[in-house]
Each structure stands twice: as C-alpha cells, then as structure tokens.
Symmetry: C3
C-alpha cells in the first residue's frame, strides 16, 4: 500500500463538524417532539404498534435503555478483545453510533412523516439505536483496518441503504422480523463482509502481531459479551406488540440464549486442542442464539422451539469460527476481524429461514414467500450496497492505516506506552 | 492427588450436549408461555403475588433485568479477582447460570403445574434466575479447584435440592423470606462449604501462587461488586407484593447497603496493617447488608432498623474475612476461595434470625417458629445436600485440576501468555 | 508539606462509625416509609410532581436505577483513569456516595417534612442520589490529593450547603433546573475547585509520576464514561413532570449528547498533535452535552436546539481541557485532577445561561431573572462553601498524603505489587 498520510488533522474534524451541522439543520427542518397524537398512517394498520406510546410515552423506556447498553457497552467492549485496539473499539463505537442514531432517525423517519415531521418517541429512539447496530456489525468486519473517516463514510451509506431495505421489508413485503435477524444482523454482516472484500489487504494474510488478544483484553471483551447476552431479550421484544406477544419475544430469546451457551461451550471444547475452551467462541458464539431467534421471537414456536434454534445457532457459530473464517480469509479474500459472519451472518440467515418455516407452519400470520423475499432483499441490498461502499472507502485519500499499523490504536490516538 | 486426566474433550461436550437435549425435551413436555390466565393454585392464596402479572405481563421486567445483571455481571465479575482465573470466573459463571436457569425453571415449576404445564412469566424467570444464585454462591466456595464437569454436576444436584427446600419453606412452612437470606444465601453458602469440605486439598494449605489478585483483577472484581450493590434492592423486592410492600423492600435494602458500606470500610481499616483498606473486604463485605436484610426486606422494621441490620452485617462480614476464614481453612479443612461464608453464610443466618425477631415483634404476619424452622431447614438441606454432592464430585474421573494447576485458567482455556 | 501521619487507623474508623451511628439515630427520629399519602405541601403546587408516586410507588424505579448506575459505576469508573489510583477512585466513590445518599436524604428532607417525618419514596431516593453527585464532582477536582477522612468531612459540609442552595433555587426562586446544570454540576465543580485552590500543592506543579494513565486504566475509565453517557437522559428527566415533559427531557438529552460526541471528537483531533484523538477528551468532553442541556431539558427548545447546546458544549469542554486546565494550574493554583471545570463547570454555566435564554424566549414558564439568580446563587454558595470547606480540610491532622504519595493507592490500601 502506498504511503498516504494517516494524519487526520483537518480531514476528520472537517468531516465530523460538517456532518453534525448538516444533521442539526435537517433536524431543525424535519424533527419534532412526539406529542402523543399519531395520525396519518392511514390505510394500513401500523405493524409496529407504535400507538402504545399514546398511553404513557415512557412505557418502552426501560427496554430502550437496555438496547442502548447493548449498542454502546455491548458492541463497544465486545471489540476490545484486540490487545492494542481497545481505544478505537470502544471509542470509535461511541463516535459511529452517536452519528448513526441521528442519521438513522432521519433515514427511517423520512418514510413515515407525520404532518411533514418526524416526531420522536421512545419507539423511534429504539429504531434509531437499531439502525446503528447494522453499522457496528459491519465495523466488526473491518475492525483495525480502517480510518475514522472511512468509517463515517460507511455509516452514512449503510444507514441510508438500511433505511430503504427496512422500509421495503416492513412496509411493502410486510414481512415479520421483530428481532431483526434479517434486516439488521444478516444485513449488517454481509454489508461488512462485502466492504471487507473490497478492502482486502494481501499483506495481512500472515498473522499480524497486533491481531490478537491478551489476558485482560479478553476480560474487557467479556463485559461486552455479557451485557449483549443479558439484554438481548429487550432487543428482540422492544418493538413487539405489547402484552403477550412481547412477553413471548422475551421468553423465546431468554431460552434460546441459554440453550446456545451450552452448545457453544460444548462445541468449543470439542474442536479445540485438548478439549480446552476458546475465548473467541465464548465471546461470540454464545450470542448467536439471540440473533437466530430474532425473526421468530414473537411467534408461537414454543420455548422448546426457541431453544432448538439457539442450540443449533451455537453449534453453527462455533464451527464457523473454527473452520469457515480461515477459509474466507485465505480463499475468498474476506478478512473478517471479529468473525461477524459467524455471529451475525450465518445465525441471521438461520433466523430468516426459521421465520419462513414458522410462518409456513402458521406460527404467525404472514406469507412464507414474503419472508423469503425479505431475506433475499436484505442479503441483496447488503452485498450490493457493501460492495459499492467498499469501493468508495478504497479511494486512497481517507487516511487508512498502512498494513504494518493495522490493529494499532497509536495511529489515531495519543497512546502512552 | 493422582494424575487423572484434565482433558475435557469428549467428557465435557457430551455432558453439556446431553443435558441441553434432555432439558429441551423436558421443556417440550412441560413448559409453555404464560397466557395471563392463572388458575389452579386453589385453596391457598399465592404468597408470591404472581397474579400481578395478569395486568401487564412485563411490569416486573425492569427488575428482572436488574437481577439478571446481578447474576451474570455481578457474580461473574466479582470472582475475577484472582489473577489467573478471570476466564473461568466470568466464563463458567455464564455456563453454569445458563444451565441453572433452565433447570431451575423446571425444578421450581414442577411443584406448581398449571394444567400440567409450567407457564413462563417474568415472575418465573426471576425465580429461575434466583435459583441460579445458589449455585453461583457455592461456586465461589470451590472456585479454582473444580472442573467444568464437576460444576455441572453440582448445578444439577444443588438446584434440585434447592427446589425441594424452597417449596418446603414457602408453601409448607409458609415462612417469609422475600429477599432469600435463608433459602438462597445461607443455603448456597453452606451447600458450597460442605462441598468444599469434601473436596479438601491438603496441598493447598500453604499459599498457592495463583490464589491471589493483581491490581487490574481487583478492578475487574469491583465491576461485579458495584453492580451487585446497586441492583440488590431489585433482588430483595422483585417478588414482594406490589405497591407499598415492594417499595418498603426497595427502601430497606437501599439503606441497609448504604450503612453496611460505612461499617465495612471502618472495620477493614481497623483490623488491617496501618489502618489500610483491604480490597477483599471492600469487594465483599459491603454487600453483606443486602444479604442480611433479605428476609426482613418487606417487613415494617423502619429504615433505621434496616440500617442497623446492614451496619452489623458489614462488621460481621469483615471480621469473618479477617479472622474466621483462616481458621476454617486451617482447622476445619474448609477452603473457601471467595469467602462465601462471610458474604452469604453468616449474613444469611443473621438475616434469618432478624426475620424471626421481626415476625415475633409483629412486623409482618407469620410465625416466629416457622421462620426458625425455615432457617433450620435451609441449613440442614444445604449441609446434607452439599456433603452428598461433594462426595459425588470427589469421584476421581471428572477432570478435576491437579493441585499445582488450581486457580489457573490455562488448564481449561486456550490462554495466550 | 510536613510529615504528618497518613495512618488512618483509629481516626478513619472512628469517624466513619460515628457518622453512621449518628445517621441511624437521625433516621430513627425523622425517616419513615412513604405511605403513598402526600399532604402538607399546601399553598404552592409541588414543582417536582412528586404526586405521581401516589399511583404506583415504583413508576420511577427504572430511572432511579439508571441514576444509581451513573453515581456508582459512572462516576466511580470515570476516575479510574489514573494508573495507580483505581482502588481509591471506585472504592472511595462507593464510600462517599453511600454516606452522601443517607446524609443527603436528611439534608434535603428536613426542608419538606410531612407530619414531622421524611417519607422515603423513589423520588426522594433519586434526589438523595442526586445530592451525592455534587460530592463526587468535587471529589474529581481533588482526586489523588486527599485522605478518606478529608473526603468524609467534605461530604458532610458540601451536602449540607447543597441542601440550602437547592431549597433556595427550587422553592424560593422557583427556578427551572430539571437536569441540575446549575445546582449540581456548576455547584459541584466550583465547590471542588475552591477546595482544590485551598489545598494547592506547589510541589505538584511539575508532573507527578503517577498523575497519568496507562492503557488499561483508560479502558476502565471508558466503562464510566459510557454508562454516564447512556443513562444521562434518565438523570435529566427523572424528576420532570410525567408525560410529555419527561419525554421531552429524555429526547433533548439523547440528541444533545449525540451531537456533543461529534464536536468533542472533531475538536480533540483538531487540537492534538498530528490530528490524533486524546482519551482525556473522549472520556470527559463527550458528556458535556448532558450537563449543558440539563436546565433546558424539559423546555420546548426543539431537538435541534438541544443539539446546538450539546455541540457547543463539546467544543467548549475539549478546548477547556486543552488550553484552560494548564492555565488554572500554573497561574491560579487550581490543580483540577479530573478537569471537572471542563466537564461540569463551564458546561454547567452554559446550561444555566441557556436556561435563562430559553425562559426569556418563553420555552418554559418562569422568570429569566430568577433563572439568573439561581445560577448566581449556585456559584456563590459553591465558591464560598468550597473555600470554607477547603480551609477546614487543610488542617494538618486529617491524614492527607505527602506530595510524593499523591495519586497512589498504596498509601490507603493494601496493594500487592
């Protein structure tokens, strides 16, 4: 790679300030407080049950805060496993998510204007946080190999494309995806993998000195894992219909995750040297049950059905880390730093397929064909959008790190050694 | 100790997968969603006020999540104080709790079938999380000296025995124990101490190199301490009667814990070299107020009464760490790694006694004799159950670590040095 | 500094135990449970809308727990950035806050007795937690240079003075300050800075070996930062009027903080060497938006208005860290360890001024003059109170650390190296 400057001075501050000023202007024009009076959705019933906020505008607030913790602590610390990239992991996570939630509110809200305004409710804040999740998943795929400027560009484009696909899936196809296995997890993962493919660095084929963990960095990562694991029932149920549907989404996710832990630990021990457990698997594959049960979370699949989904997801995810990730890197040129393919990609597809089957079996009103179309749409937008985004990010003047400085905070942060 | 194999390959995966598959089958037969219609408890009023869930099935959900954080972050990180055992502490905590909550749901639910089914409500999830606490307390007593296989065996047996004692205390004796000083804390502690006695290792009488903390491991442990401390009011009030009783349980626990911090710090400084504070005391004894006020939490003892209980608990617990733990280890052969006797054992008994006194003084409806019987029952089941469980765990083919590899992650985990 | 003893034995335990015993006696006399029946506020409507607790005493409980996490995890871990002062940061934070919440409940409650009693509701617990925040902010200014005994003395005095100023601002001036930009943030900061001025140590003018971070201590600090950042909407809305006002406070804070992150990152990169980001800025200045929007949080300033406040706060705060803190230390003798002037001081004043402007523009009922008087009162009480408190803390027998042992846990804690 040629020696382009990684000095962010001017380029990064100007981009960040400009984006924020544009966003504030857009907010001044389009965004207002929710006044509790919803009108205008008209012909079709709102599928997201937004009207519940009419009664008490803060009913969903505790679930919002759980999702908030997943986004900022969960994703942020999960990525601190790298020995010299903790500042970037938790710090750039904060930066990207802060911008993404503002941008996401607009990109999602423009499809649902109410008297020409996006009226901010807790429900809309949850959706804004959700939209950031796609970016943070993709961030995991390119972690350590991208500059803050590149990542801000990815954020703008990915959120915009996410908004289009989400509108298509929820409003046009009217598909079920309450926990967003398809529109967030599979979308975010394959978008990120497409970007990673475009940014392929042959020099990183051999192990990079900093592309690994140390003892304490793995413990920091477990903070992220456990908060994600605990609050996932809120993620999958936050926008479910109030009452028994929402309780069902909580219950299914709770048990899917519990079953997933057992299978992830078992398979980790089974495939590793001397039956030992591998922190990479434990940090990630234990969460696959939350991803995979997402689409079906509010469907009447039975607690045991949710557990089967989680059980399978834990196996698939762990095997993916062990066998598939090295193949993707060496044969397909997809260097997936955090293994998002195993945590979000395959379990997301598994969730989409489970949703098709469950709808076909009548566990929820809907059309199996539309569920399938939703999955295909999410994958299609992700792969095409990610490829185009990756090509833009590849342009050589975004301050990307040289190969030898990948996975190293000190290139973008003041670090005292 | 003879050189049995610690290689977990096959034994651990087979056990974990088998347990999970059996559990899924049991769930398929016995477990269903809560439909909001409760019937069948019949003659006696439900003492746990489960009927509140009829109005809004997610009323208790924020408290459930607080308890969830205590179980997975609180207990998990509290045990990361050991310098080389952090992966096991937070990782095996996740494994055991994930299995325990599934097993606990069944072991508790079988006593209360509704049309032949266990109907999962948030209330039942809280109780499932509660049942895991007993195992995690016992885990603290044997931390560093047991294999994952041994710990899974302990989980199965302890939860089963807990379910019997809990049914006896709550339904037959009709004793008060809203914050579970007796049925969780005292039970879990003495069960674990009985197991530890059975697994006594003479070679560990002299200090083991890894049986201690380093600077950063003590900070990780404080994450656990502080989350336990903050959310303890939720633990003690989650299953209280809605309304003023529940508020009383929150209030009493809040002030008991605050008073406990002052006395724990004071006594720590008083008994240590040059008046310095000891992290072991701060990490643990500051929580004793939450344990000790548990039984009385929803009783009209006055905020100052709760503070007296917390104040005494902080003193007793700190003195226990300083003076009693070494005696238990050297004279009775009870090697209590985390000092659960000081955090859960003695404060649990203190809580049980406070409950007897409070009921005798008319602070709550009930029988002081039944309160006493509940304490005795909890201790009895714990000591007998723990002894039998310890004997089974002592069988020499469960992959237990040799003495020199105790308190060391690298025997069961891939660790990069 | 003369070689006074830093041995805390006797002095610290006696003080802590005495304070707790006195507090328990005061609780026995003055404090009772909330019974849901509020009377006696009489002529003027309660501005804090306490009556909402009449319906369900635990409605505010999830927000209380968010605030609780900010106090104990947020403030505690934010200060762990120092390489050798983590035990004191999180440990003394727990000690001081535990005492402060008890003392604060009395100092605030005595102004509002109900039948001669302070009746504890969740609302009052939130206010008790709030009062601790002032002490923890001031603690940040003197971090590393004070003994536990000095800090307990500061706690008693600061909370007492806070209670007077809070009563004056809320009840006499009837000023708006829902998120407490003035009465907590500006007050706590300038109180702490006045104390720091009194405790000026010339020998610390040159860099102290321990007055800095290491890689992992900066990551621990980010735990504090992110929890503060996430839950700040709860802090600013917890005591707002239920319904749309409370939602507005959540919304404004959410977007103010998001905008603040972008400007803080941009300016950090702009002013640092080679455009790199500085962890000190990221840990602190990203939170200034929460402080600055506090007074206006429940005012109809529009989401974009909140974002402008946050955007400006992020810039001011970052520039303060870079340029003002060194000047305060070298020219004014104010050694502000955590830079509370930049995080709480200036943004607090900014919030107070924004409140004056917003009230003048009719965004909320009130008097711009009274808003101005509230800001002046808060600064006046802080500076005078802090100066007097600092003089008392300067007395040479409170076990303060010698210059060479500042910023070092091992003087008050058992530390294994």
């Amino acid at each position: 790679m040629p020696a382009y400057s990684t000095n962010m001075r001017l380029q990064f501050p100007i981009l960040a300030l400009t984006l924020e000023i544009i966003t504030i202007i857009l907010f001044a024009v389009f965004v207002d407080y929710d006044d509790g009076k919803h009108g205008g959705h008209g012909a079709h019933n709102t599928t997201h049950h937004e009207e519940k906020t009419e009664q008490d505008p803060l009913t969903l607030y505790p679930m919002f805060q759980d999702v908030h913790v997943m986004i900022f602590i969960g994703f942020g610390f999960l990525m601190t496993f790298l020995k010299r990239y903790g500042f970037s992991s938790v710090g750039l996570n904060l930066l990207l998510a802060s911008f993404a939630l503002q941008w996401g509110l607009i990109m999602q809200g423009l499809w649902h204007l109410d008297d020409g305004k996006i009226k901010v409710s807790v429900f809309k804040m949850i959706n804004a946080d959700f939209s950031t999740a796609t970016v943070l998943i993709s961030f995991g795929a390119v972690l350590g190999k991208t500059s803050p400027v590149q990542l801000l560009i990815m954020t703008i484009l990915e959120i915009t494309i996410f908004g289009i696909n989400e509108h298509l899936v929820a409003e046009i196809l009217e598909a079920n995806d309450v926990g967003a296995s398809m529109i967030i997890h599979a979308f975010g993962a394959y978008f990120g993998l497409a970007v990673a493919r475009m940014l392929y660095r042959p020099a990183l084929r051999n192990d990079h000195e900093n592309d690994g963990s140390v003892y304490h960095s793995d413990l920091f990562a477990m903070i992220g894992t456990v908060f994600l694991w605990m609050f996932w029932p809120s993620f999958n149920s936050a926008i479910a219909a109030p009452g028994t549907d929402q309780l069902m989404a909580v219950t299914n996710t709770y048990f899917s995750l519990a079953a997933c832990v057992l299978s992830a630990y078992a398979v980790s021990s089974l495939v590793e040297h001397k039956g030992k457990l591998d922190m990479v698997h434990i940090q990630n594959a234990t969460l696959a049950g939350g991803v995979a049960v997402g689409t079906c979370a509010d469907m009447n699949i039975g607690p045991f059905g949710a557990m089967i989904i989680g059980f399978v997801a834990g196996i698939v995810s762990t095997l993916g880390f062990k066998f598939l990730t090295p193949i993707l890197a060496s044969n397909l040129g997809i260097q997936d730093t955090c293994g998002v393919h195993n945590l979000h990609g395959m379990p997301g597809i598994l969730g989409g397929i489970a949703g098709i089957v469950a709808v076909a079996l009548g566990k929820k009103n809907g059309s199996a064909a539309m569920q399938g179309a939703a999955l295909a749409s999410s994958l299609g937008f992700a792969l095409v959008g990610g490829t185009i985004t990756g090509l833009i990010m590849k342009l050589p003047f975004w301050g990307q790190p040289p190969d030898q400085n990948c996975f190293d905070d000190s290139i973008y942060w003041e670090v005292i050694i």
